[in-house]
């Protein structure tokens, strides 16, 4: 869809929502929900509070809809809200950090089933490692490295300068490197990801 057409569609949809059309509110939810769920998942990992977070995000979206000025794409505007919800969640969760015993686990051997098991275990360890990062750094890193957004877009979503965003991503990456140096499973997982993304 051409950018202008997409922008117009956003504005019209918001107008219909603000005009009290429930079908429009439903359309907005259905259109944005899979994307927002994926973004929240990539920021937070497997999470039993995911449904509450998704619900919070959309309640915030509908509450704030009157403030949407059309200065950015509706999706970007909603992403900002989702990121704020994730940030608040991570800040509150910080009191109970996740602990993982690295030393007793060895990298699994090669093979189809083991490869999948490694992938799953690698994801688990990635998010266990990310749990130790500051919320802002984790969000910037996951939006960039996991959700695949360019730094400039991440900066817009997290409402920070490009330089500050780059710094957060770099720090998160360095912290992950340090974790991986002590954790062979995480190291192997990241190494494979790097190889396959080339």
């Amino acid at each position: 869809m051409a950018p202008h057409a997409a922008y117009l569609e956003d504005v019209l949809l918001v107008d219909r929502c603000l005009g009290g059309e429930e079908a429009a509110a439903r359309e907005l939810f259905r259109r944005q929900q899979p994307r927002i769920h994926a973004a929240l998942y990539r920021i937070l990992g497997s999470n039993r509070d995911m449904d509450d977070l998704l619900q919070d995000t959309f309640i915030q979206v509908f509450r704030s809809l009157g403030g949407y000025r059309g200065e950015a794409r509706l999706s970007t505007w909603i992403d900002r809200i989702a990121v704020r919800v994730a940030y608040r969640y991570l800040s509150q969760k910080r009191a109970a950090p996740l602990t993982v015993e690295w030393s007793e686990v060895h990298a699994p051997a090669e093979g189809g089933g083991d490869r999948r098991a490694l992938a799953r275990e690698g994801v688990r360890r990635l998010y266990a490692a990310l749990a130790d990062l500051p919320a802002a750094g984790r969000i910037a890193f996951t939006l960039h490295a996991v959700d695949g957004r360019p730094v400039a877009e991440v900066a817009t979503i997290v409402e920070a300068s490009v330089t500050a965003t780059k710094l957060r991503i770099w720090r998160a990456r360095r912290a992950l490197d340090r974790k991986a140096a002590r954790d062979p499973v995480l190291a192997l997982f990241l190494e494979r990801a790097t190889e396959e993304s080339r």
């Binding site: 619900q55 009157g66 695949g148 997982f189």
Partner: protein, 399 residues
């Protein structure tokens, strides 16, 4: 070592799907919250009318209950509101209306009205489509949808009724059971069935693997401890990459042994010993009946759950699900019992065994989205649970 490119890890972090029912629930809650937001757009006129109708219904109910009690009669749960009619007219888009444990959605250009009388809550559909989601109503007034001379009677279910300008009526049941009356003829519709002009069609739903041939050893005789990743001999078999397996394949499979592309799922815990803890003679009697007459046992479990509350009722519904699935091979029936259990006991239904029983039923056949989502839900709740290995296998197989 870390990926430098944006999205370098994207393909390595697959997003766990959310269950469709959960997404629907979130959507409903969000839309309800949206309507409650200060400054949110005004509701349509009929909804505004409904706002005052509900307190009025409550007040009238209390008054009637007092009046009947004074006369020594048993007070009905539903207040008769003869004459109270709310017009539901919606020319554009769709609208949602909530009343007395039912969610009614109106389609485009639908004209309908809702009334309460001695028969219960009645939705009269002139033209268009109404989709209803009705909670189980053991203590509530009956819920009916009337479209011309066709009448749909609901127990606790989700369904849609459509009536075109020519008066032709169609009923689709997505969950539960409804009875359709057309003049003197009456038909019972199950989930996945459609009624149209007196004819019933069955939508293509997942196939059923009968288990009646060999239900295997009684799991209640065995230890109730979860059976980690070791499959019991007669465990349900999951056709990992062969989505449709004809019913008679079960016998062939039993003779030839499970094919290589099939994954045996361990059984969830039997609720048997829970009855011993409850010291409930009635439940114990139903449990004893299972071996000789599982169908009657399933019916009695349901009847028991209607007349009891709390843990005993939850155990009865869990047992009904278990018996229908493992002893009767009645997958749709087991799913309906499980849905009822989840709705009535949302906290209990998140227990490990219940979640795994659900995975087992949903994954009996195609490794579809519902199966995968249920496995993800289990792993999310119980990452190191007794059946986590099996759930992860399902997730891996379906990736």
């Amino acid at each position: 070592m870390s990926p430098r490119d944006p999205g370098g890890l994207r393909d390595h972090v697959p997003v766990e799907p959310l269950e469709t029912e959960l997404v629907d629930r979130i959507e409903r809650r969000v839309l309800i919250a949206y309507e409650g937001v200060e400054g949110a757009p005004a509701r349509p006129g009929w909804l505004a009318a409904a706002r005052w109708l509900m307190p009025a219904v409550a007040v009238a109910g209390v008054a009637l209950a007092i009046a009947l009690n004074l006369r020594g009669a048993a007070a009905p749960e539903r207040p008769p509101m003869a004459g109270d009619v709310v017009e539901l007219r919606h020319a554009d888009g769709t609208s949602t209306y909530e009343l007395d444990g039912a969610v009614i959605r109106l389609g485009d250009g639908t004209d309908a009205r809702v009334r309460r009388d001695q028969r219960g809550v009645i939705v009269e559909l002139d033209v268009g489509r109404v989709d209803c989601e009705v909670e189980p109503r053991p203590a509530r007034a009956p819920f009916l949808v009337r479209a011309g001379q066709v009448e749909v009677v609901v127990v606790g279910t989700a369904f849609g009724v459509e009536r075109d300008a020519g008066g032709a009526v169609r009923v689709d049941v997505t969950r539960g059971v409804v009875r359709v009356r057309d003049g003197t003829a009456e038909r019972e519709l199950l989930a996945g069935q459609r009624w149209s002009d007196g004819q019933v069609e069955t939508a293509s739903v997942g196939r059923i693997v009968p288990r009646t041939a060999d239900p295997g050893p009684d799991p209640r005789a065995a230890a109730v401890a979860p059976q980690a990743s070791s499959a019991v001999p007669d465990a349900p078999v999951l056709a990992a990459r062969s989505p449709v397996r004809p019913p008679d394949a079960t016998a062939r499979r039993a003779a030839a042994g499970a094919a290589e592309d099939e994954v045996a799922l361990p059984r969830p815990s039997s609720p048997g010993t829970a009855f011993a803890d409850l010291r409930d003679a009635e439940l114990a009697a139903i449990l004893a009946l299972e071996a000789s007459d599982p169908l009657e046992a399933a019916r009695r479990y349901r009847a028991y759950s209607r007349t009891h509350d709390g843990t005993p009722a939850a155990r009865a519904l869990y047992s009904e699900t278990y018996v229908r699935y493992y002893r009767l091979g009645d997958r749709p029936g087991a799913l309906r019992a499980m849905q009822l259990y989840e709705r009535r006991f949302p906290t209990d239904s998140r227990s490990e065994s219940a979640l795994w029983l659900r995975v087992t039923i949903l994954c009996d056949g195609e490794l579809d989205r519902a199966c995968r989502a249920s496995a993800h839900t289990y792993v999310r709740q119980f990452p190191t649970g007794a059946w986590a290995d099996a759930a992860n296998r399902i997730i891996d197989e379906s990736m």
